[in-house]
Amino acid sequence: MNARILTLTALLLAPNAHAQGFAGLGTDAEGFAIPERGRALHFPADHGPHPEYRIEWWYLTATLTGADGQDYGVQWTLFRSALAPFEAEGWDSPQIWMGHAGLTTASAHFSAERFGRGGVGQAGVTAEPFAAWIDDWHMTSTAQPDQDALDRLDIHARGSDFSFTLDFTAEGPRVLQGDQGYSVKSPQGQASYYYSQPFYTVTGRLDLPEGPVAVTGQGWLDREWSSQALSDDQSGWDWVSLAFDDGHRMMAAQVRGRQTFTAGTWITPEGQATPLPDGAVQFTPLRHTRLNGRDVPTHWQIDWPEGGLSITTEPLNPHSWMDLSVQYWEGPLRFTGSHSGRGYLEMTGY
């Protein structure tokens, strides 16, 4: 990766991942707005950007099955990072955008990234009509006027050796994480606004070096914004989104720090969400994979004793390493045990 973008990324996102917390979320929030408990989220406005907050993302993952019978995974993310808590026209805009795309097969993992300045039109997000884009990558609403804008999305991204074009259709309601969308990330109370759409069905096409593959599957959207989501001693997190064979969904995450902090949400097929308090879920690494000089736990046991859940996860490809300016692990998995299904695993700060 080139030195300049590294510098940029280091400045904006991860000055020192191990000492100060992954992606700069632990940094001070001078001048930036801070999430407050009890503020209700408003849609469609909150689908759009919140420039007064330091960071924000539109994060899509999908577990797919090809016409060839193979498993695939896809990630499409647009990050927003603000140098100052406002938006302005033209080059004066302090908003910086970063796109990440990943495509995982059993034998390969593709990744790509894009950078762009706000204010000039190269990258950005609009709420009405909903569109998020950077260069030719986009996540555009194709929903009917009476639907929520995010109920139907056209997704596209392209790397040097892969691309994908997918249609996401929501089969259930959006889910507010934490306390009505206020999601606490540390014992000290760092928090973000966080909502998801866990019920997408996906169809579309992957373009791989070997040729195109038609795919279908399930997708998950995360929307999150904050200014100080991690505390100083927290170094990263392990996060899963799970789709159970019986239609349930679950989000579970642990933030690693002096003291591990966990959060989770149990979601019924109808969209009823139950937040799981700190300590309700346990993550136990089962096996590590050597990636880029670090040992990364790619196989996990996840327990939620209260819900009678005890599963082990198996990644589609343990080498799902996002070898970009910010490096992390992100890839699809299958799980078995007390329950079974498919999901997505994200691990940062290794």
Binding site: A3, I5, L8, L83, W91, F115, S163
Partner: protein, 794 residues
């Protein structure tokens, strides 16, 4: 054994310190001149690399609009289509006390090589308006409200800024100059030709790169460096050769005492290596100092001629130092090879008397004549068939070498004729003896001839150029005032304001274009008497100005005309217009690029929205107009140039261009004089034995000293006489071949006898100075030294 042999060998130098000093000086000077010039070249090339590296222009393809400007929307259109391009804006602006190039980049999308300047930087500050500039540029700018940081990675004269800041400072909001393409683009994109048919793609490494443009300048410098190096080697060669002759008896004795020949040769080679290391190290220091003192002029020349951003201070680079050292070693080996060869072939029991030079070398003379003839034939062939800068320099080298080789032959012929004419025995001896000693002096005389010829040739070329250039400048710079607008908006306002207040207003507009396969520019030319009356043309058609005004063709500059081998009437393909006939060519000294001029109407129709870069104004009251412009528009001093300023500036650039040539000329001549001095001093030692019988027969030491001095002056004068035609030949080659290939213009050769007379005087003074010391020594210490010849007999 090695130590003993070496100490015996080195004892010679203890006894002959002058010789040692000559040898070391020669080597050190040769190294200094060569490595100094290499240092200059290296510094300049490093500066080009910085300039090109900053935008990856050497390694990245570029997209440009022919007008040199494009809308930012074009950038977004390509990005949104998936093309990885990054916008760049470039323009001139006044910052503090200096006029600088503002280079605006978009750091998030710019090629990775922009990194060095930004690697340690605070991106947030950069985006907020902080700039980067070379420390030298910072000094030139002085105090300014703007936050600027020093960086060696930015070329001199440029300020690197965020694109938004640069647009604002240049008054070009929403405009960009070009796009750079990332080397790896995603697969499956819509082709550029479809997306942006109006943009021109320049593949990596093509286009008007500084390296390419300045090649000829550096080749010139290198040729000079090589010449100086060769002259320096003459000194070394004569010193080494003499030391060999003087040590013949020692070699024989050493071998008789049982030192193997191989061992002796190794020791002799070791001795030379030692000298090469000593003198080479000293020469490198000298070379560095030389380069450091010449660099400011070279930098100004390169900036003036090519706009190349070369800093005025020298960095030490071990690369040229090593190269210089290697050259010293190679040169010493070359100069010493003959001595080693002779050692190898010296029979151990041969009598220890010095070789009889003149008659034994008759065969050598024939060989030399043959070689000169071959080289002359090669030169003629190259003159007829060559068509590149390299063949041009090869032609020069062959011709000069042929001439140099001929020098001893012609001198020998002349001396032999003089001997036949001589009446008195002393005169007869004088000529015969001069001829006999010619082989010992011939290398030094050849060096002197080369230095003199180079002086005459380069001097004539520069003087011819200057004469032509001044005439041309007077014709071309007729506009009383030139104004550079800050922005398109200001250009429009100025145009409106100036139209009623001036006798004529000639806007300058241009677009970048490839002309006959060369990087170049197309200019708009307003049909006006100022141009009709004053522009000298080469091979114009009849009614050329009327036909140009009627858009029936184009004018091209001489560079394009000659380099592309065009002729009046040929068709020239213009992007966006098609082929138009060439109506003539105009001299355009000092411009490295190809150029074509179109009538303004056709230009505007073909390249709409081209910004006006400057106005040339005709007015009867320039001071009043300048004052009005300053009051009305607040134009800075750097935006307004009056005619006198412009002429002074052009002439200053011209003089700077050849300052370094002049300096090198003087240095080369000095080295040649030193070579002659070395030869004469060393010869003086051997000549005692030849002079002693004459002294014994009744010639006074004073008379002998006078004869020795006269001999040097006669040989010097004869060499000077031979150098004149060679120098003129050199000048003709420089003007008609090298200049055409290197710069693209051909100039008439003019004669400057006063310059030659001055050079002749200097040369004779140099010869006199070189010969005076040995002659003086002969006069003062003559009897004692001459007597020693007889006393040494037993």
């Amino acid at each position: 054994m090695t130590r003993i042999v070496l100490s015996a060998l080195l004892s010679h130098w203890r006894r002959n310190r002058w010789q040692l000093a000559m040898l070391l000086t020669g080597l050190a000077l040769a190294t200094a001149l060569w490595s100094g010039i290499q240092a200059l070249n290296a510094e300049a090339r490093a500066a080009y690399a910085t300039a090109e590296g900053l935008l990856a222009e050497g390694s990245a393809a570029r997209l440009e609009h022919p007008t040199g400007r494009m809308d930012q929307a074009g950038y977004l259109r390509l990005r949104r289509a998936g093309w990885l391009v990054s916008p760049v804006i470039e323009g001139r602006a006044t910052l503090g006390a200096a006029r600088v190039t503002l280079l605006g980049i978009e750091p998030l999308t710019a090629p990775a090589t922009a990194g060095p300047a930004l690697a340690t930087a605070d991106l947030q500050a950069f985006l907020a308006g902080q700039g980067f500039a070379h420390p030298q540029t910072l000094r030139e700018i002085g105090a300014t409200g703007r936050e600027l940081r020093a960086s060696d990675a930015v070329p001199v004269g440029t300020v690197l800024l965020d694109i938004g800041t640069a647009q604002r400072l240049l008054g070009l909001a929403g405009q960009i100059t070009r796009l750079t393409l990332a080397p790896d683009q995603p697969a499956g994109l819509v082709p550029l030709a479809t997306l942006a048919p109006d943009l021109r793609l320049t593949p990596p490494g093509e286009g008007a790169t500084l390296g390419g443009l300045t090649d000829s300048f550096h080749l010139n410098l290198t040729a000079f460096g090589l010449l100086a190096f060769a002259v320096g080697l003459f000194i070394v060669h004569s010193a080494v050769g003499l030391a060999f002759e003087q040590r013949r008896a020692m070699f024989r004795t050493l071998r008789a005492l049982g030192v193997p020949l191989r061992h002796l040769a190794v020791c002799l080679a070791g001795e030379m290596l030692l000298f090469a290391i000593l003198a080479g190290a000293f020469g490198l220091v000298l070379g560095y100092l030389l380069a450091a003192s010449l660099l400011p002029d070279v930098a100004l020349t390169l900036r003036g001629l090519y706009g190349a951003p070369v800093p005025g201070s020298l960095q030490f680079n071990p690369l040229w130092a090593l190269a210089g050292f290697a050259m010293t070693l190679a040169g010493t080996a070359l100069a010493g090879a003959q001595a080693l060869w002779r050692l190898w072939h010296m029979p151990v029991l041969a009598p220890a008397q010095p070789r009889a030079w003149a008659h034994a070398s008759a065969r050598g003379m024939r060989l030399q004549a043959l070689l000169a003839l071959i080289l002359a034939a090669l030169a003629v062939t190259l003159a007829l068939a060559g068509d590149s800068l390299v063949t041009g320099f090869a032609l020069l080298a062959a011709a000069l070498l042929a001439a140099a080789l001929t020098v001893p032959l012609l001198l020998a012929l002349g001396l032999s004729l003089a001997e036949k004419q001589a009446r008195s025995p002393v005169a007869q001896w004088f000529w015969a003896d001069s001829r006999q000693n010619l082989p010992r002096l011939s290398l030094a005389l050849m060096a002197l001839m080369l230095a003199l010829a180079a002086n005459i040739g380069v001097g004539s070329m520069v003087a011819s150029f200057r004469a032509t250039f001044i005439t041309w400048l007077d014709l071309r710079l007729v506009a009383e005032v030139t104004v550079i607008p800050d922005s398109p908006a200001q250009a429009n306002a100025l145009y409106t304001y100036l139209t009623p207040r001036t006798d004529a207003i000639l806007p300058m507009q241009r677009v970048e274009a490839t002309l006959a396969g060369q990087p170049g520019q197309i200019y708009a030319m307003r049909d006006h008497a100022t141009i009709r009356d004053n522009w000298p043309l080469i091979d114009p058609v009849r009614e050329v100005w009327d036909r140009l005004a009627a858009a029936e063709g184009v004018l091209v500059n001489e560079q394009l005309y000659r380099r592309a081998g065009l002729a009046t009437g040929d068709m020239l393909d213009l992007p966006g217009i098609g082929a138009l006939p060439i109506l003539g060519a105009y001299p355009d000294y000092g411009n490295p690029l190809a150029q074509a001029a179109l009538t303004e109407t056709l230009f505007r129709a073909s390249y709409p929205d081209t910004p006006i870069r400057q106005f040339a104004l005709r007015t009867k009251d320039a001071p009043a107009l300048i004052a009005a412009l300053q009051d009305e528009f607040g134009l800075s001093a750097t935006q307004i140039t009056d005619q006198a300023q412009a002429k002074a500036l052009s002439l200053a650039i011209f003089e700077r261009t050849f300052l370094i040539t002049g300096a090198l000329n003087v240095l080369t001549l000095s080295v040649a004089a030193l070579a002659l001095f070395a030869a004469l001093v060393t010869l003086a030692g051997m000549r005692l034995a030849q002079l002693a019988p004459l002294w014994a027969m009744g010639l006074t030491a004073r008379r002998l000293a006078g004869l020795e001095l006269a001999r040097a002056l006669v040989l010097g004068a004869a060499t000077l006489a031979l150098a004149l035609p060679v120098g003129l030949m050199l000048a003709q080659v420089l003007l008609a071949v090298i200049n055409v290939q290197a710069f693209g213009w051909r100039l008439p050769l003019q004669f400057f006898p006063a310059d030659w007379a001055r050079l002749g005087l200097w040369a004779m003074l140099a010869v006199f100075a070189a010969a005076a010391l040995p002659a003086l020594r002969l006069w003062r210490q003559g009897p004692a030294q001459l007597l020693r010849v007889f006393a040494h007999e037993r």
